[in-house]
Subunit: 339 residues, 2 copies
Amino acid sequence: MTVNTGQPARVTRKDVARYAGVSTAVVSYVINAGPKKVAPGTEAKVLDAIQVLGYRPNAAARALKLGSTEMLGLVIPGNTNPFFAELSEAIEQAANERGYALLLTSSDGATSKERKHVRNLLSRQVDGLLLTSVEDEPYLDDVIASGIPAVLLNRYQPSEHLPSVGVDLAEGARAAVEHLIWHGYENIGLVKGISASRIPDEREEGWASALTKAGLREGQIFTSTFSMEGGYRAGQRIAAARDRPTAVFVSSDAQAVGVLRALHEAGLQVPQDIALVSFDASFQSAFTWPALTAMHQPTEQMAEAAVSALLDRETASTENMVFPTDLVVRRSCGCLPES
Amino acid sequence: MTVNTGQPARVTRKDVARYAGVSTAVVSYVINAGPKKVAPGTEAKVLDAIQVLGYRPNAAARALKLGSTEMLGLVIPGNTNPFFAELSEAIEQAANERGYALLLTSSDGATSKERKHVRNLLSRQVDGLLLTSVEDEPYLDDVIASGIPAVLLNRYQPSEHLPSVGVDLAEGARAAVEHLIWHGYENIGLVKGISASRIPDEREEGWASALTKAGLREGQIFTSTFSMEGGYRAGQRIAAARDRPTAVFVSSDAQAVGVLRALHEAGLQVPQDIALVSFDASFQSAFTWPALTAMHQPTEQMAEAAVSALLDRETASTENMVFPTDLVVRRSCGCLPES
């Protein structure tokens, strides 16, 4: 049988094995960087043989034979949001550990781009799809029809059709606001994120419930996109607010970074004039000024759970996996730990 | 001819076209999201046909036939560095515009991981490889032997074997330091990055040459990894330095973010006690406190040039493409513009 591959693989893995004086299995391990380790000397021999013979492994033929592309596809809003940068890096890591590569796509938070990427990833026959959707109820007919396993990321509400991974947003927001209440703040505002959601905002619910429980009135709500730019504009509105809050719970680190910039520009001190607690506690949150007290999302565990749901189909959970968040205490709330 | 595909494609593109009442070309456009646009109504018909018939396009068979996987592979140190987050997003965009998907891998700045990723991407037969190497002279024998087009990113020195894309680091550093000299600072330090390089550090050369030209002595050098953590430790050393510099040129935004944190913690004011100019001017640099004056790397143009060098082989440059950097003036140098 002859198949036109554009660049036909004249030299086979067997030729490489014979030239290097090793088994074809060892050649595979070197080419695929696993699953078994190969001694550096042996590896050098195989690489030398590959070069001398001009061998090119044929990924397309391999995929046809395996019925697998050994790739996962990821859709995130974009990695200039530190939380998604961290999450996508953790997912790449979890995929690599299993011998899978990651196709990364950014939707910029736009439904049309998200759908286009999903369709494209399906047509590339990824072995699994990880989708951070802009919508509560993303259009999943294509995904389900494809039979390709998929998991929804960054999602608290269970989906009817797919497993999902997220954190308990309401509980996290409640804990954040309770920490501000413990500090003695009474006028506590909210920087809320904009989503295409018709479901009530869970962080807002957590914020409101903590205030109600403490007998405090709900402070002002400032809505913005989940971005540094959005947070910046929200921060300008906070600084100019007539009944300015003394503390604010901010729905993401990206927004909090922008809020801080606006408050600094307005000459307001954090936490003395306005205390902040943020959500995500991504790598970024330790490096703002002041460093952000924030609810930490366990990105590594979430990435591991999501990739496992796609690839370890027998043992993995297929349900809605909800992780708890932890309070990371730094300076922006008024606590002053060493670091 | 029968090929065992694991999941044989019983339904063909022809069946879908017949059911939807369109040509097979239109079916292709819908599946591949291009290259031609399809009217929304027609697209809906095709998607409906795909779902009803349970059609799964076979990417592996397509790749065999085309001799192309329509994928590019990217190796970056990691996207928790804002410059690389921005660059990888720009590359994804440039690849997508040409109908290519992007396999993203992170080396964490480690040679062993970099080589493993390169080998893995080659074995997946990407149509092009974009490599941000840890080394001046990365091991490229595998890449060259594969015949797969490759381009080196974030590189100022030309490579013997491959086209490359970068900025004029020495010239950028010189302009940054000249700006600090114009402000009147005389004791100007350097936060330098650690690399596996045996080539003299170009930013250091630019820094030194600007000082020499102005008749100023070279200030102290603080070396760190190109990361927020590294910059933080460098900043602690700056704050504690006996002959503390009054201004510092910092080799990357990631480091500058860390330096700022350390200076704040030490109770030092930027720019009053120490002025800073950084390198990259990534999205992050506008959102630090104070906002960073920085030399801007044109990531979109660089991404476009790199992807073009891989895919537009007839017209694209195959040489070392060096872009200029521009000074973005903000607060950290002592200039106080509106924004």
